[in-house]
């Protein structure tokens, strides 16, 4: 667990607003040195960590988790050093007012989103202002703000990571870097177990806005793709179809988009070996990169393994490290299984 926590910290502490996923680079270099042969960044922006095959004839397997997270971008610098901004990806506007943010300008700066106090609110309080009406308070003068924060500067939730009881952690960007942590852990287990096939870990760019993973998949043309993303965990009052709660283990997605044979194989493998898991039905859309990878090039059989998460797209996403460990174990075991024989 200590290793998972350390990885979660190093991957989520920097800037990874969609299109600006540079914050974890030094962490990725360490990961490359530990488990992979090369680290490249392809033109559309995805990172590819490649571990070449130690033995020919085994299937080539691509693992994908997206590196980016939702965030903001500065559109205008106002009088008094306030910033207008727009959203990048699906921001939850209910939690923006008074939120701490990090501004990745010419210098890294902190700011806070302006909130109208209850005393001063007029009109219908149940109506949220559109994101483009909110402002970030920088504490700078307009002149200084213009110098340090050009229009187009990305802004993210301020980094924090707190440990809750029961192996649970709370922070920002776990969508989807907590899945990257699980995949890296899976790769480590495979290598320690003497696995010899090619493993390509894609930490993809821009999932929250455009699913740019397709260019990385096109370059790799793997035999199989295993996508890991987060899913909304059950909380009291959830839709009755949403069953996976924190601590229930990884969720395997059954849909018409992902590969049925491979998914069935994964479910059977999990059952036969009593790996903790749940199964969910996402009939025609998974809302993840697993929607797009199957149709790249000549087609790529793809499965989706999700990690349950609470408070998605906020700065207080909650996950269970037990689920992360279980997802890693399941994925590593399954790769060992399908890696034995030639691709389907």
């Amino acid at each position: 667990m200590a290793n998972l926590l350390k990885l979660a910290r190093s991957l989520t502490s920097g800037c990874s607003v969609s299109g600006f996923e540079d914050g974890g680079l030094s962490a990725l270099e360490e990961i490359r040195d530990a488990y992979f042969d090369e680290l490249t960044r392809e033109p559309a922006g995805s990172y590819i960590l490649k571990r070449n095959a130690r033995k020919p004839g085994l299937p080539k397997i691509m693992l994908d988790a997206h590196m980016d997270e939702v965030g903001m971008m500065v559109t205008e610098v106002l009088e008094g050093g306030f910033l207008r901004f727009t959203n990048i990806g699906g921001l939850d506007t209910r939690i923006l007012q008074a939120a701490d943010v990090t501004i990745y300008g010419k210098e890294t700066l902190y700011g806070v989103i302006v909130s109208t106090p209850p005393h001063l609110q007029t009109g219908d309080r149940s109506v949220l202002p559109p994101v483009t009406d909110l402002m970030i308070d920088t504490g700078l003068t307009k002149e200084k703000a213009e110098e340090l924060i050009p229009v187009g500067t990305p802004v993210g939730y301020m980094y924090k990571l707190t440990e809750l009881k029961n192996n649970r952690i709370c922070g920002k960007g776990f969508d989807d870097k907590i899945c990257a942590v699980a995949l890296i852990e899976a790769v480590e287990q495979l290598i320690n177990g003497g696995y010899e096939g090619e493993l390509d870990l894609v930490l993809s760019t821009k999932e929250e806005i455009s699913r740019a993973v397709v260019t990385a998949a096109y370059r790799l043309q793997p035999d199989y793709a295993i996508v890991s993303d987060v899913c909304c965990a059950w909380v009291p009052g959830s839709d009755s179809r949403r069953k996976t709660g924190l601590g229930d283990g990884p969720e395997i997605s059954l849909s018409a988009i992902t590969d049925v044979r491979l998914t069935k194989k994964l479910i059977k493998f999990a059952k036969d070996n009593e790996y903790k898991h749940t199964v969910t039905v996402e009939a025609t859309s998974t809302g993840t990169n697993a929607n797009d990878i199957p149709l790249v090039g000549l087609g790529i059989p793809t499965v989706l393994v999700s990690i349950p998460l609470r408070n998605m797209h906020t700065y207080s996403e909650v996950v269970s490290l037990d689920d992360v460990a279980d997802a890693a174990k399941l994925i590593a075991g399954f790769i060992k299984e399908i890696g034995k024989e030639a691709a389907i």
Partner: protein
């Protein structure tokens, strides 16, 4: 110069019906490029070969098509109903003259008693001035396209109003880049794309065809310097070429954006930053087709996009041309 632009703006080319625009552009760029082809979708792809053996492939892209309408029903009384092709602002186009592919002219009007908030395609029809279905069918056919009357007029100084600046002005910028480019180390593909207004379909196929290292779109972007803009937006007419950071469809490549800023600064080209909170361009397809490319966009600031009076400043257009020429030599 302005006469050529006037000609280009007069030619009709609703999405999928871009042949006449392509024919004009082909003639205009022929002396300045080495190879010209049209792909099955109709994209016009012109290559100017580079001088270097290690040439990179630079794809410049502007779309030839414009928004318009397609006849979907001719009613008994000669009333012609049309579907929109691309993003139509019915309030702006209400009571406009529309011209069909065969030259027939009509007027696009809302049904009487329609309140402004209910303005949508179902409430509009084209009045051809006919009385019967048979008369209407002699003028237009099902599936035939039309668009709001085109053309430009000069306003104050270097500003012009008219349509369709979106995106004939981008095509114009690229034609001028072809003329000015001279010797260049990179292979430069001038791609004039089809069907952008209906979902960037042409540039998708063209990007597969070219497989560029760097892709740069030239398209219009809304200008924020209007009275009470509907959204906060910092681009201004006359402030120069707008270097795109994002729109709803794309986050532009950061190294390419940085190189554009550097080139503009070093050569005293007036420029500004564009962060668009909606909209989409051919940039996104260049970025994500096949193995992907470093993609960006140089936007021409334009007030009142998708109306019959889009306004541009030719000084901005010239800045876009100058910056575009420099981008052809990028090595990223």
């Amino acid at each position: 110069m302005i006469n050529e632009l006037k000609k280009l703006m007069k030619i009709q080319g609703v999405s999928s019906r871009e042949d006449k625009v392509a024919a004009y552009i082909e003639e205009a760029v022929k002396p300045y490029v080495d190879e010209i082809k049209r792909d099955p979708l109709g994209n016009l792809i012109c290559l100017k070969k580079g001088t270097s053996k290690k040439a990179k492939k630079i794809m410049l892209c502007a779309h030839m098509d414009e928004i318009g309408f397609m006849v979907n029903c001719i009613q008994d009384n000669g009333i012609v109903r049309v579907s929109r092709v691309g993003g139509i602002n019915y309030i702006a186009y209400s009571n406009s003259r529309v011209v069909f592919e065969n030259g027939a002219v009509g007027v696009l009007v809302p049904e009487g008693k329609t309140e402004l908030k209910d303005y949508n395609g179902d409430k509009f029809y084209v009045d051809l001035g006919v009385k019967t279905k048979a008369e209407a069918e002699r003028r237009v056919k099902l599936g035939e396209m039309c668009s709001v009357e085109s053309g430009i007029v000069k306003l104050y100084g270097t500003k012009y109003a008219g349509r369709p600046f979106d995106d004939r002005i981008g095509c114009y910028v690229m034609i001028e880049i072809a003329k000015k480019l001279g010797k260049c180390k990179n292979d430069v593909y001038f791609v004039f794309s089809v069907q952008e207004e209906v979902g960037c379909r042409g540039s998708h196929a063209a990007s597969y065809n070219v497989l560029p290292d760097i892709g740069i779109a030239f398209d219009v972007t809304p200008s924020g310097d209007v009275v009470n803009p509907s959204t906060n937006f910092s681009v201004k007419l006359g402030d120069g070429a707008a270097i795109k950071i994002k729109d709803s469809s794309v986050m532009c490549d950061r190294a390419l954006v940085a190189a554009m800023f550097e080139a503009a600064k070093a050569n005293n080209i007036k420029h500004q930053t564009e962060v668009l909170t909606y909209g989409g361009t051919d940039t996104s397809s260049m970025q994500t087709v096949a193995g992907g490319s470093r993609a960006g966009c140089i936007s021409i600031p334009t007030r009142f996009c998708h109306t019959q009076n889009e306004i541009v400043d030719m000084k901005d257009v010239e800045a876009c041309i100058d910056l575009g020429v420099l981008c052809c030599s990028f090595d990223l």
